[in-house]
């Protein structure tokens, strides 16, 4: 089902750009959770047959990325009482353009020599790299701690897409381990967000400079 896979990947790419261009933190979180749902579906459609292991991985992935993590972040958002990223380093429109450039760069430059050049695979690697780059852009240009978490999530989504190529070889345990890592990471960051808020009475990570040696 290469067509279905490619469709999903294109939607993922589009969601990346949406995430870059949106100032309301709540919508950004929703966009990323939607991306998580799509990515959770990918392993099911990718190989054309459904195994129990794939089903389990998809189920846990979707529950974690679409429900648990977003709700944790929304909660942190509510506690910190902020709604939007007010002053990013780069404006929203330039971020979108940068993201588009990154996507184009990946589509043009990134291939992995030595892989069987299936049609299904053709978009996977560029999408993966484009998503990683978008995650980096989010990380570097946004100041609010919550936006940084979103950036890490997008980054992880990119790595997840790359991992799809190996999904046949990857045992279920490893995949579950990765998800657990992600969950714990986000969990810790949510706690840290609260602490940053308490210590600096703001979620602006620029205040962390004062921790510098």
């Amino acid at each position: 089902m290469p067509n279905l896979v490619n469709t999903i990947l294109v939607i993922v790419l589009a969601l990346n750009l949406f995430a870059l261009g949106n100032s309301r933190l709540m919508s950004v979180i929703r966009i990323v959770s939607a991306q998580g749902v799509l990515l959770g579906l990918l392993p099911l459609v990718m190989h054309g047959h459904i195994t129990i292991a794939a089903l389990l991985a998809a189920g846990v992935g979707i529950i974690l990325k679409a429900i648990i993590i977003p709700s944790m972040m929304l909660r942190a958002l509510r506690d910190a009482d902020i709604k939007r990223e007010v002053e990013p380093l780069i404006g929203f429109l330039p971020s979108i353009i940068l993201g588009a450039l990154a996507t184009g760069f990946s589509l043009l430059f990134v291939t992995l020599p030595g892989l069987a050049d299936e049609a299904a695979v053709s978009l996977v690697i560029p999408t993966s790299f484009a998503t990683v780059l978008v995650g980096f852009i989010l990380l570097t240009t946004r100041y609010k701690a919550i936006s940084q978490v979103v950036g890490y999530l997008v980054l992880e989504n990119g790595i997840f897409i790359f991992g799809l190529l190996l999904v046949e070889a990857l045992p279920l345990v490893v995949e579950m381990g990765v998800l657990l890592d992600l969950f714990v990471g986000i969990f810790v960051i949510s706690i840290i967000v609260n602490h940053i808020n308490a210590a600096f009475s703001s979620l602006d990570t620029r205040h962390l400079v004062s921790l510098k040696e």
């Binding site: 380093l89 760069f105 430059f109 990134v110 020599p113 790299f129 990683v132 780059l133 980096f136 852009i137 990380l139 570097t140 240009t141 946004r142 100041y143 940084q148 950036g151 990570t205 620029r206 962390l208 400079v209 004062s210 921790l211 510098k212």
Partner: protein
């Protein structure tokens, strides 16, 4: 198999010997001190003694190849068969690391170095019982035995490691344990500073070793340190040997790499200094010998290089030792000298291998090995005595000490034994090994081999010069510390008597060993021949060491000397019995109102030689200039800074300290920026990969 098990259990015992001290009570007041000295020190002495027994048994079994299991076990039993099949002193186990394996073995070279590695910790921990009691108790003194034991164990592990990865692990363990053990000296602040310099130096040396083992792995395909490897291309062999010279030379303290050594040895507790100088620095020599054994030397220049390094280190070390005020610093510099002598002997051995002259090799190697043992013994003895002086008076400044011979007669006698031995005078062991080296050097000069005469002649002259300055240096130390009267009256008043059986035992054993090795060096000849056969890889076909060097004569000469000494001693004792000596002031010198401050100090004694060598030592003088007829109150100061340390190493690190902060621009403390760095690098790598794949 049995021998290696014995050695390994001895090492484990050494490593654990400091653990009981952790549980010792530190609350003991002076009134209810435990009978066995400081917390845990006694336990450590017993455990190291046990380790010595096990270790010596293991070494003897490995040396003779005798396997008692063969006679004890019924040979029909399956287990007995398995043990019999594995009679070799070797153990190979796979381990969890991706490189190398746990591979230990004992060959004659290892066995030779293992003996002092097991013996010196016993002396040191014996000494520590008394030393710690004098030092008083403190919370952290419980940690010292732990690190002392770990240091001893790591040294022994370095000696038996036959795998590059294991060797480096043991090497690093040794360096770190040495660092921590050295921190418990009297002056904590200075000790920390000296330890810091040592840490930097030792890691720079270890870096060279990493590189060396990388090349070694590249060529031989494994980390196994066994002879019979592949054929070495001359270029790579040269690289490996040079890296080994720098890396191991840093530990041994060869001339320009010695900068960490004087302060480090001086600030460490005395028994730690003894172990550091006595055996840890010898690991540099051991490593060089091991690498020279594995990588064949075909070029003679390697031998000349060692001769030059050795001659420079020896002359520099002893000249600096003469100019020091600090007693232990002086001893530390004299370590540089003695390691230089060993390097000269090593150069002779290497030269012999390159020229195909087994007689040079045998004599050189014997001298190097013999001096390794000897230096370990008399330097330990001297450090113990210096430590006793330090504990008694609270200072090591030879220009303030004096007249301690009356307070500490036993320490003085033992220090003098060590001083005579280290100065290379008969009938002690220092003479025997240096004489061996003289014989070897002169043999090359007289032979028809294609030797670059000037290098060897230079080494011989350097050795003679070093011997002379060493005598001056140790006369100075003995006289300044023990004779005359205390130059600072406060110190004379504060000097406490040192009455410790354990300290006396430690020093006494070392002194006895010095005398025994000096009187009966011929007994060691077969040992040297066996190690030589192991080192060169061929059985010694030459007639043997005793045919070249009449070592047996030393026994006769030494015994004759001691007998001749009996006559004046008997005369003096007899006169004392007949007519009790008149007690008078020690120092008078014809002055009407003499003061202790008017005595010659150690510095003024050494001054004549130091100023002769001022072209290379550059002593700093702050002399008053007389202007008026009636000079005013003024002061004079003379210091002998280490040129390499002050003019070369310090400016270099200051330069780094000045310039390196420029890179702090990169560290802004903003997470965004750090993520951006990652982004930039990944994009650059992607593009580069793309370009490279096309």
């Amino acid at each position: 198999m049995l021998s290696i098990s014995l050695i390994l259990s001895a090492i484990a015992l050494l490593a654990l010997s400091g653990v009981p001290a952790l549980f010792a009570s530190t609350r003991s007041s002076p009134a209810n001190r435990p009978a066995f000295g400081a917390p845990g020190a006694g336990v450590q002495a017993v455990l190291t003694l046990l380790a010595l027994a096990l270790g010596v048994a293991g070494v003897i079994l490995a040396w003779t190849g005798y396997n008692p299991l063969a006679t004890w076990l019924p040979t029909s039993a399956a287990g007995g068969q398995a043990l019999l099949a594995d009679a070799e002193a070797r153990l190979r186990l796979d381990w969890f690391l991706p490189w190398g394996q746990f591979h230990v073995a004992i060959d004659p070279l290892s066995a030779f170095f293992l003996l002092p590695a097991f013996f010196l910790p016993v002396l040191g921990s014996l000494y520590a019982i008394g030393d710690r009691r004098l030092a008083g108790f403190s919370q952290d003194s419980r940690l010292l035995p732990l690190f002392y034991g770990l240091l001893a164990a790591a040294i022994a592990l370095v000696i038996i490691a036959r795998d590059g990865a294991l060797f480096l692990i043991a090497w690093e363990l040794m360096a770190l344990a040495g660092y921590f053990a050295s921190l418990f000296g009297r002056d904590r602040e200075r000790g920390r500073r000296a330890g810091w310099v040592y840490l930097v130096a030792t890691h720079l040396g270890t870096l060279c070793l990493f590189l060396m083992f990388a090349i070694y792995y590249r060529v031989s395909g494994s980390f196994t340190l066994e002879a019979g490897g592949p054929v070495w291309a001359p270029g790579l062999a040269t690289a490996v040997l040079l890296l080994a010279t720098v890396g191991f030379g840093c530990k041994a303290g060869f001339f320009p790499l010695h900068v960490w050594l004087p302060d480090f040895y001086a600030e460490a507790p005395a028994h730690v200094s003894a172990l550091l100088s006595g055996i840890m620095s010898k690991m540099g020599i051991y490593g060089l010998l091991r690498i020279l054994m594995l990588v064949p030397v075909t070029a003679a220049w390697m031998g000349y290089l060692f001769l030059i390094i050795g001659a420079t280190s020896a002359v520099w070390g002893i000249a600096m030792a003469l100019g020091q005020r600090d007693l232990k610093r002086s001893l530390a510099y004299s370590s540089v000298e003695n390691l230089g002598i060993i390097a000269m002997a090593l150069g002779l051995a290497t030269l012999g291998r390159a020229l195909g002259r087994p007689d040079f090799t045998l004599i050189g190697l014997s001298a190097a090995l013999f001096h390794t043992w000897n230096h370990g013994l008399f330097k330990s003895l001297l450090f113990f005595a210096a430590g006793a002086v330090d504990r008694s008076t609270g200072t090591r400044d030879t220009d303030q000490l004096g007249g301690l011979g009356k307070r500490l007669p036993l320490v003085m006698a033992l220090f003098m034994v060590g001083a005579v031995a280290i100065a290379g005078l008969p009938p002690f062991n220092g003479f025997a090994s240096e004489w061996l080296l003289y014989n070897g050097l002169f043999r090359t000069l007289g032979s028809d081999a294609a030797v670059a005469t000037h290098f060897v002649a230079l080494a011989a002259v350097a050795l003679a010069l070093v011997g002379a300055i060493a005598v001056a240096c140790f006369v100075k130390l003995t006289a300044a510390v023990f004779l005359g009267e205390a130059r600072a009256p406060a110190i004379a008043a504060a000097a406490r008597p040192v009455r410790s059986v354990s300290m006396a035992l430690a020093m006494g054993f070392a002194a006895l060993a010095c005398l025994a090795l000096g009187l009966f060096p011929a007994w060691l000849a077969p040992v040297f021949e066996r190690v030589g056969a192991c080192w060169t890889g061929v059985a010694v076909t030459v007639p043997g060491l005793l045919r070249y060097v009449p070592l047996r004569w030393l026994t006769l000469a030494g015994a004759g000397f001691l007998l001749a000494l009996l006559v004046p001693v008997a005369f003096i004792v007899g006169r004392k019995l007949v007519r009790p000596p008149v007690v008078a002031g020690t120092w008078d010198c014809g002055y009407a109102r003499p003061e202790p401050r008017m005595q010659y100090t150690g510095t003024s004694f050494g001054r004549s030689i130091v100023s002769l060598l001022s072209f290379m030592l550059r002593p700093r003088l702050k002399a008053p200039r007389l202007k008026a007829c009636f000079p005013e109150r003024s002061s004079f100061a003379s210091t002998l800074p280490d040129l390499i340390h002050d003019r070369l190493v310090l400016p270099f690190f200051q330069l780094i300290g000045r310039e390196a902060p420029r890179f702090r621009v990169l560290q802004q403390g903003r997470t965004h920026l750090y993520v951006l760095y990652i982004l930039i690098i990944s994009v650059v790598l992607l593009v580069m990969g793309r370009i490279a794949s096309k």
